[in-house]
Symmetry: C2
Subunit: 468 residues, 2 copies
């Protein structure tokens, strides 16, 4: 026998061992037992406020005094606390019956140079909230129901204009699909296209995992200073090639114009698709910018972008600009409905782009990151390391003498620096034709402004130690 | 050769056919061609504002006049528009080179009685924005990085207190995992547990699809007026049973106390799990409330809840209270990191629960829905239909004479009413031992207050037509 009390401002669920009959005997004892059990079992957490006795009594259909007496008894027993004007609350849930294994606190590095995040301390909180307020105030009620599986039309329109203007993407609101970040996009595309999916021999292991997670194979193709060796695609039976043409991760080069044409030729010849991961395309520091490959061939390139590097990876907000012929397959693979991305966040992002805040934030951060890159280069000058990836993005690859990577990682760990080893980024199936190398990948974009200088000093300390 | 112009407040990407040399010849023509191509190809959408000529010139390293002349030429050709003080914009992208198949506008029913959504016109926009502001203002920077794969601790703490107090769930912040709604939870659990997964012979087809979508089998068990026939589980090899114990969808009954014990016994005996879909557990209208089965056996029941019925399905915000032993398996199946749910939405929800707004909204809506249920019952009184599901939730099942469902659906469609037929909810593998029935499922929770009366009238018109 259970009872649901809708009391005061707060609901309370009670397990009663027998039915309460208004005016009946034993009601007080039933209540005391149910409340004591709820506290003792840990179900009602320490600090939980109970409903006022008057409203609990009304809901249960008993006299107010009965509830007040039950509360008083439990206060006397030490389970509840009470103070005039402050109500009644749970003071002791000492006997937590649900021992859970502590999963510990993740170790936080003193110096965070780990690739994968921009400087989130610069997140434009005020402007984002302004957009959130405007978006939610203006949203029609239907925006709060499940809607178009491609995502909110307001966001697809804003993205279509923005990606066309800034990245040279040729798309339309009809063929953009919103998703929960690029990893989610890769997972959906692997499901939709099947395998194998060709990936760069060095690249983000998260995407290899996402592809494997939907039981699709990935196969590596080489990378050199001109970007992915797209001629390798002809040795595969790949359904698609996942590339980082504007800024290779981690080597930092961009795909040579000849190869841009070649990969499009491959796709057109074989019916394959290029999956263009444009993870930091907005951040270039020279006057030799690189538009999206998608602009060359919107029929066989899927453009992938997200807010993870431009704003914050915690937003879980990404987008695909698809060939028209893929839209339905992609939606089917995604589960047939818009199941993943908060519509309010989509409307907020649409407003944030449309009102110019997104451009403004990116332009501001481009200056910040460029300055950091320059400072980092200056600091690295004394050291005998190769540096690649200067002209764009938030990270650099430092190449090290053969065999030096494990020692560098060990010393970085001791110095409290989070960064990525190059070895982790190598595809496990990469053959001997893909030159192995030692190196570390560091993100000058990750720390806050105030933490950046100390992180650079710590890194230099590690490099200094390596060379002596 | 491409160029990236960082101009005014806005970025503009241009494809130039040759390098620009400051002071060099032909710069004006290069610019004109690049801009004309960008507009003609449809890449720059109608209405796109171009950077001011002064800043574009600075970024490209050319004379301002060169840019101004290029703009003027394209205004003369009719591609751009310009007005003193209003800048320069794209006026004509008539030759859109990306013909996309229109996917049409979804037909919107005049009367929305389709189950699956609460009255979203009552979404507490102001209170939600207040929570969003407070949450984002107070959030530490690390909240904007990828964090604990279980979700934000603030939300897990708020849910642990809330679910314990209101639904009798015995859990802790350590064992709650945040996800993108109950469908996402079912998908992750099917991946983690494998199959077959037993489901109620009548139930939400979305969940059957989600299970099938990860290549896991589902197998039906019977349902009668006491809820799921859990004895049927012994005829299966199910790894888990997905049930709606507090309020069966669509029949509306709750699982009989004997069966609650029996299903826990089954789980403990076989090492299986009960997946408890508590989709509308907060909305009960009588004094015979039903706590979560999870409270009986936290070690073998996974409790599933979401904000979809209490606030809005567009939030894509759900949660699982897991046995401690399942947490790591579930996180691995979910992709190993918190990949799906916006951290800002999680922080907003945590504040919304903690400050009492969630209780307040639910209590308000419980009164609204109860009043609607009473009005609907009154309106249905003249008709010869069976009604089940009176005591809880947002929907009713109207049972119809044998064979009447198709005709009822046809007439509802003609009357502009969206609702669900019972047939769609039957598991395709349900055998002859599961009685078939005709019926329609209607949600009195879906329409707005102002649309409710007309929707009931329209429904009565359909029923009237059926009986004459």
């Amino acid at each position: 026998m259970t009872s649901w009390a809708n009391s005061g401002q707060r609901d309370l669920h009670l397990d009663l061992r027998a039915a309460i009959t208004p005016g009946g005997r034993g009601t007080r004892e039933l209540l005391i037992t149910a409340l004591r059990d709820a506290v003792r079992s840990g179900r009602l957490a320490t600090g939980t406020t109970l409903p006022p006795s008057r409203t609990l009594a009304t809901d249960l259909g008993v006299a107010r005094n009965t509830v007040a007496e039950a509360y008083a008894e439990l206060v006397a027993e030490g389970w509840l606390g009470s103070r005039q004007g402050a109500g009644t609350w749970v003071v002791d849930a000492a006997a937590n019956p649900l021992p859970t294994r502590s999963r510990g606190t993740p170790v936080v590095a003193t110096h965070n140079l780990m690739p994968g995040s921009p400087d989130v301390s610069a997140f434009p909180r005020a402007a984002w909230l302004t957009s959130a307020r405007r978006a939610l105030s203006a949203a029609p009620d239907e925006a709060l129901r499940m809607g178009d599986p491609r995502g909110r039309v307001e966001l697809r329109e804003a993205l279509s204009e923005y990606l066309g203007r800034v990245r040279g993407v040729r798309t339309s609101p009809e063929t953009i699909v919103v998703c929960a970040g690029t990893r989610h996009a890769v997972e959906i595309l692997a499901k939709a296209l099947g395998g194998p999916i060709a990936v760069e021999a060095y690249g983000l292991f998260l995407f290899r995992e996402a592809i494997a997670g939907v039981s699709v194979a990935s196969t590596p193709i080489g990378v050199d200073e001109q970007g992915a060796i797209v001629a390798d695609l002809d040795r595969t039976t790949a359904s698609a090639a996942l590339l980082t043409p504007a800024h290779h991760f981690p080597h930092g080069g961009h795909l040579h114009p000849t190869r841009r044409k070649a990969v499009v030729d491959w796709a057109q010849r074989t019916g394959g698709y290029v999956l263009e991961d444009d993870y930091d395309g907005e951040f270039r520091y020279d006057r030799q910018p690189v538009g999206a490959v998608q602009g060359l061939a919107p029929d066989c390139v899927v453009y992938l972008g997200s807010a993870s590097k431009s704003l914050s990876p915690a937003l879980r907000l990404g987008w695909m600009a698809l060939p028209d012929s893929l839209v339905d397959r992609v939606l089917a693979a995604a589960g047939g409905q818009q199941f993943y991305v908060d519509a309010l966040a989509q409307l907020t992002m649409a407003d944030f782009i449309s009102n110019g805040s997104y451009d403004k934030h990116i332009r501001r951060m481009r200056l910040v990151y460029r300055r950091r890159r320059d400072r980092l280069l200056e600091a690295l000058r004394p050291f005998d390391v190769g540096i690649s990836g200067l002209s764009a993005g938030l990270h650099l690859l430092l190449t090290l003498p053969a065999g030096a990577e494990p020692e560098a990682m060990r010393r970085a760990g001791e110095a409290g620096i989070a960064l990525s080893g190059l070895g982790l980024l190598r595809h496990p199936d990469a053959g001997p034709d893909v030159p192995a190398g030692d190196g570390i990948v560091i993100s000058f974009g990750t720390p806050s402004e105030s933490a950046f200088a100390a992180a650079v000093d710590a890194l230099c300390g590690v490099l200094d130690g390596l060379q002596h």
